[in-house]
């Protein structure tokens, strides 16, 4: 899918996306010539169709995770079925961050923990707090995790 600014005859560029949490998706594009912006808004079915392809609108911010589509889309997964490799050298997690992580379904929790830990480790962050999680979530585009 591409967007063309008809007045400028210029291909519009991806700027940002938002997942409001109601199953819809908002993606903003801007014309590099005149600066005009448009938003692509998808309904839950259209959003799900894109997710089903295992692709990220706006491009990937983190490498593909093993079984990523299955882990993020399966609603009847067993909490302990997948054991993520121990990340002992990872940053510490504050109690508040652990509380928030505990709200993530167990089937995908290990993967989410690893993604946040790696993000923090790369930045020399020694403790993961809810604020760190917010920053990572926004930067990595993990709104659905």
């Amino acid at each position: 899918m591409k967007f063309l600014c008809v007045d400028c005859d210029a291909q519009m560029r991806y700027e940002e996306r938002e997942l409001p949490g109601d199953g819809t998706l908002a993606v903003m594009f801007a014309c590099p010539t005149c600066g005009r912006k448009v938003a692509l808004l998808t309904n839950p079915m259209e959003t799900q169709l894109v997710s089903s392809l295992g692709v990220k609108i706006g491009g990937r911010t983190v490498p593909d995770q093993p079984l990523e589509t299955v882990r993020t889309q399966l609603g009847t997964g067993a909490d302990g079925a997948l054991v993520d490799e121990d990340t002992r050298r990872a940053p510490a997690w504050s109690a508040a961050a652990e509380d928030r992580l505990a709200r993530v379904p167990g089937f995908v929790r290990g993967m989410v923990r690893r993604l946040y830990s790696e993000w923090a480790k790369e930045r020399g962050i020694e403790e993961i707090t809810p604020e760190v999680m917010d920053a990572a979530r926004k930067e990595l585009g993990l709104e659905e995790m």
């Binding site: 591409k2 063309l4 991806y14 089903s52 392809l53 589509t69 299955v70 889309q73 399966l74 997948l82």
Partner: protein, 295 residues
């Protein structure tokens, strides 16, 4: 009126690069399977013919013949390979570069949706909007199968078997994912009904240009538990024009009982008529792939 440029007039996507992401998925799949010598789909088209039992025993017979074998349970909504191979309840270790497969009877490596589900009675339920699930479910299932193939750390294998769900169309997503699929083994009963449906699957596989290894006739007669004599169950043998018969597996009540306990018959009762038929089929598969001939 000003002509509006079309999709192909514009330069490649510089934002999401969806096509690039899809290409990366395909490359990852090819990298993973580069250590697999032969890929083989076990297909029927018809349900209830014992296809998964044949897959499990064919895989076990190949492993018993010192082949390194993996099995992908491609029946996402009716997964039973973990039960058939005694691998239920195994937890799978996830590393950054892949998921360690379960290990079942005979050392068979396995990936199955059954290993991931919350309970015995839990069906596969996806999180998307139910109202229009027909639009996205097939895409998601193809994606899940791709991940099973690409994200499982199979290591080096001689054979990777895919146990397909019933349906004459089920070979198509596999063909899309694995355009160089090594071959197909069909499973059928000798009944007219079974052959009627399996013929459609044979036709479709031929249209797609996938090599056909042959077919296994399951429940080909009944083996007397007392004297071992095999009597007919469906009358005449199954026949598919130009498709070689790899073996005729007689019905044996103990085969079903052992399957329920996760123990492949071919390993538990190697001297039986059914085990001999599975062994014959495995030898025919090896001859097809390794020497390019039919037995």
């Amino acid at each position: 009126m000003k002509r509006i440029r079309t999709y192909f007039d514009l330069p490649p996507d510089t934002g999401s690069d969806v096509l690039g992401q899809i290409r990366a998925q395909v490359e990852r799949l090819h990298r993973r399977l580069s250590q697999v010598h032969f890929t083989l789909a076990v297909l029927s088209g018809k349900g209830g013919v014992g296809k998964s039992v044949v897959t499990a025993n064919l895989a076990a017979a190949l492993a018993a013949d010192r082949c390194r074998v993996g099995v992908v349970d491609a029946d996402l909504n009716g997964p039973c390979m973990a039960k058939l191979l005694g691998a239920r309840g195994q937890r799978l270790l996830v590393k950054a570069d892949g998921v360690a497969p379960a290990v079942g009877a005979g050392g068979l490596k396995l990936m199955s949706m059954d290993l991931l589900l919350a309970s015995d009675s839990a069906p596969v339920e996806w999180k998307g909007p139910e109202a229009e699930s027909f639009v996205w479910r097939g895409t998601l299932e193809a994606g899940a199968l791709r991940e099973f193939l690409a994200d499982t750390d199979w290591g080096a294998l001689d054979y990777l078997l895919l146990d397909l769900p019933p349906g004459t169309d089920r070979i198509e997503p596999v063909h899309d994912l694995l355009p160089h699929l090594g071959g197909v083994v069909f499973v059928s009963l000798a009944s007219d009904l079974s052959q009627f449906v399996v013929r459609k699957a044979v036709h479709r596989v031929r249209e797609l240009g996938i090599p056909i290894v042959g077919f296994v006739e399951n429940m080909a007669g009944y083996a007397c538990p007392h004297c071992g004599t095999v009597g007919p169950l469906f009358g005449a043998s199954a026949e598919f024009d130009g498709v070689p018969s790899l073996g005729r597996v007689p019905f044996d009540p103990e085969l079903a009982a052992l399957a329920d306990r996760g123990r492949p018959f071919v390993l538990e009762r190697p001297g039986s008529a059914a085990a001999a038929a599975f062994g014959q089929a495995a030898r025919a598969v090896r001859a097809f792939f390794e020497t390019g001939r039919t037995l």
